[in-house]
């Protein structure tokens, strides 16, 4: 039995310093990272003036939503937290270290952003609590994935219902980015699955329609589709005054459904033919075969790709500036447009970068957990050696 210190030395020699080339590469990358990180930290601590972020936090988070409607944003955030929490609960059992981390995060957020605003403090605690409670409930009770899906759908509908009276075109900032991503992702997954199965239909007309739809969408720029749907909406429905947000979401759904359909198709194509034959030999109808046998397996296989699609949706939301919506990135430009903050470009964009990074990472981690959850019953590579 080797001492731990010796193990570390052996590990380092094997993984970092095996050959002269490795030594050079390791040294170069460590120096480069150290140089970059130290500069960033020095700038963030001593040079940057962060007052712009705390002063404009409202704009960043909710855009031009009037303060009388803030409670709607908080309730929506509460529901978003419980959606993320319940999906996390599927993949991760809750551990004490998660609690500790969550508590530290709450303290950090409070100290950084809330200051002495008691209402915001209470609301933020509520959001964190809603996240934690739904996580614990789902990981303890282990309900079937379908129930969690129903809960997510219901919460999404509730979020939209609660926020809509505030005036849909006044949603802005991070709130808009999040709601936009969640609502479009929901429809993208639904239509993506339908298109993927339509592409394999035995009905030639349906098959051709789906192929043409998918291929033409994938060959067009997203920004063009979003803009086109925005101007074309009133042409087709002159009497129905559809909110810009809805039209923007429609544009994303139209485009990304085709992308998601290709991800699902990849999963379907990987299924062994025997699955279909076994299901047929049991006398199952086509709907039951698709819904109970093929779809769950295809989704499991295509989940990494689909989660990548959803992350793309979130990262492409800034495209909605073409239809005049003020998403998170756009609010940064709005803040910088005011003369008092015009010299705070680095601070504002550093804040944006960090926020996108954190949300993207959370999405990725939750997706990993979900993959793990859906992969139960299948042999994973790690088990095969």
């Amino acid at each position: 039995m080797r001492s731990p210190a010796l193990s570390i030395i052996f590990w380092a020699r094997r993984n970092l310093f095996a050959t002269p080339k490795d030594i050079a590469l390791t040294a170069l990358l460590v120096l480069l990272s150290f140089w970059a990180i130290s500069h960033v930290i020095y700038w963030a601590v001593f040079v940057a003036r962060w007052d712009v972020v705390s002063d404009s936090l409202r704009v960043f988070l909710v855009g031009t939503l009037p303060s009388t409607e803030f409670w709607r944003a908080w309730v929506a955030l509460l529901l978003v937290a419980s959606i993320v929490g319940s999906v996390s609960g599927l993949g991760f059992a809750i551990r004490p270290r998660h609690m500790v981390f969550g508590f530290l995060l709450l303290v950090f957020l409070t100290v950084t952003f809330v200051g002495n605003n008691l209402v915001a403090l209470a609301a933020l605690s509520g959001v964190m609590a809603s996240f934690a409670v739904s996580w614990v409930l789902v990981s303890r009770l282990a309900p079937s994935t379908a129930y969690v899906g129903l809960f997510v759908t219901g919460s999404l509908a509730l979020i939209v219902t609660i926020l809509a009276p505030a005036g849909m075109d006044r949603w802005g900032g991070l709130l808009l980015s999040l709601i936009f991503t969640l609502v479009s992702s929901f429809f993208i997954l639904v239509f993506g699955v339908i298109l993927a199965f339509g592409r394999r239909s035995s009905n030639l007309a349906l098959r051709l329609f789906c192929i043409m739809y998918i291929e033409s969408m994938r060959s067009l720029p997203l920004i063009l589709i979003v803009y086109w749907i925005w101007i074309a909406g009133p042409l087709f429905l002159p009497t129905w005054n559809v909110a810009t947000v809805t039209r923007g979401i429609a544009g994303f759904v139209v485009y990304f459904s085709a992308v998601a359909a290709e991800s699902v198709r990849g999963g379907l194509q990987g299924l062994p033919k025997g699955q279909l034959e076994a299901a047929r030999s049991l006398g199952l109808g086509e709907f039951d075969i698709n819904y109970h046998v093929l779809l769950p397996q295809a989704l499991r296989a295509s989940l990494p790709a689909l989660m990548g699609n959803i992350l793309d949706v979130f990262n492409f939301v800034p495209v909605v500036f073409v239809v005049g919506l003020a998403d998170f990135l756009r609010t940064g430009e709005m803040v910088l447009a005011s003369p008092s903050y015009s010299n705070r470009t680095y601070e504002v964009y550093a804040f944006m970068l960090a926020t996108y990074f954190v949300i993207g990472s959370v999405l990725t981690i939750v997706a990993r957990g979900l993959e793990h959850h859906l992969a139960k019953g299948s042999r994973r590579l790690s088990e095969l050696d």
């Binding site: 030999s281 049991l282 006398g283 199952l284 109808g285 039951d288 499991r300 299948s378």
Partner: protein, 256 residues
């Protein structure tokens, strides 16, 4: 539907092509209820294709095929577009595959209850009860909550048999059920099939297990290049084969 006759499968002059290649040629075959028919033949002889025609996983191009009173028309697509009679036949005919083809995302119990609930519209409770009884019958009652990947090949194939039996079929088709198994697991699967035969289940079995065929079969058919060259009782077949090619085949597989 005609009144239940004594024969469950009737093939008259059945033909089947893959592209331009004739894989089944003028098959005439009648299987009576309660009979165990074993089909043997070399690779590419069409034996798997023959039994896959019976539940419509393959379509035939010519001749007539009647299964349990329902006619399978020629050129029936294997999907549900094949029509009501195809689905009626599949409800009555169970099939066991070489590769088991269990649903990997469902537990053993859910594998057994899916079709009874969805197709026969059983209540989940009744289907669960039936599944428990069937698992006990194949000796796997302790594994109901496991996933297929947690079972050995022999156990998976026994689950696959139980899954087919859960539909209470009139006829069971076995397509080389032991060919994908490690040698030590073959007997546990054959034992289950023996018991089924003893219970009077009608079975059509494609297999290379000659000892098993001899012991269990009522009749053995030898298929070569899409034709039935010889059909008869095991003793006729093994002890006094009439056809030269049957003799060559038997000596080639019984030698080792």
């Amino acid at each position: 539907m005609t009144a239940p006759s004594n024969s469950i499968v009737e093939m008259i002059d059945l033909n089947k092509y893959f592209g331009t290649q004739l894989v089944l040629s003028g098959i005439n075959l009648t299987v009576t209820r309660g009979e165990v028919l074993v089909i043997i033949g070399g690779s590419g002889s069409g034996k798997s294709t023959l039994i896959r025609c019976i539940n419509g996983l393959e379509s035939h191009e010519g001749g007539s095929l009647i299964v349990d009173g329902y006619t399978m028309p020629p050129l029936t697509p294997p999907s549900a577009a094949g029509g009501k009679d195809l689905l009626r036949i599949r409800k009555r005919v169970g099939m066991v595959f070489q590769q088991f083809n269990l649903f990997p995302h469902k537990t053993v119990r859910d594998n057994l209850t899916l079709a009874p609930v969805r197709v026969h519209k059983r209540s989940p409770a009744a289907a669960n009860e039936a599944a428990t009884a069937l698992l006990a019958r194949v000796g796997l009652e302790a594994h109901a909550s496991k996933f297929p990947a947690q079972l050995s090949g022999g156990q998976q194939q026994r689950v696959a048999i139980a899954r087919a039996l859960a539909m209470e079929p009139e006829l069971m088709l076995f397509d080389e059920p032991t060919s994908a198994l490690d040698p030590e697991m073959v007997s546990e699967v054959l034992d289950v099939m023996r018991e089924l035969a003893a219970d009077g289940m009608t079975m059509i079995i494609v297999t290379h297990e000659m000892g098993f065929a001899r012991e269990v079969a009522d009749r053995i058919a030898y298929l070569d290049k899409g034709r039935i060259l010889e059909i008869g009782t095991p003793s006729e077949f093994f002890d006094a084969p009439k056809n030269n090619r049957t003799r060559t085949f038997l000596s080639s597989i019984l030698k080792h």
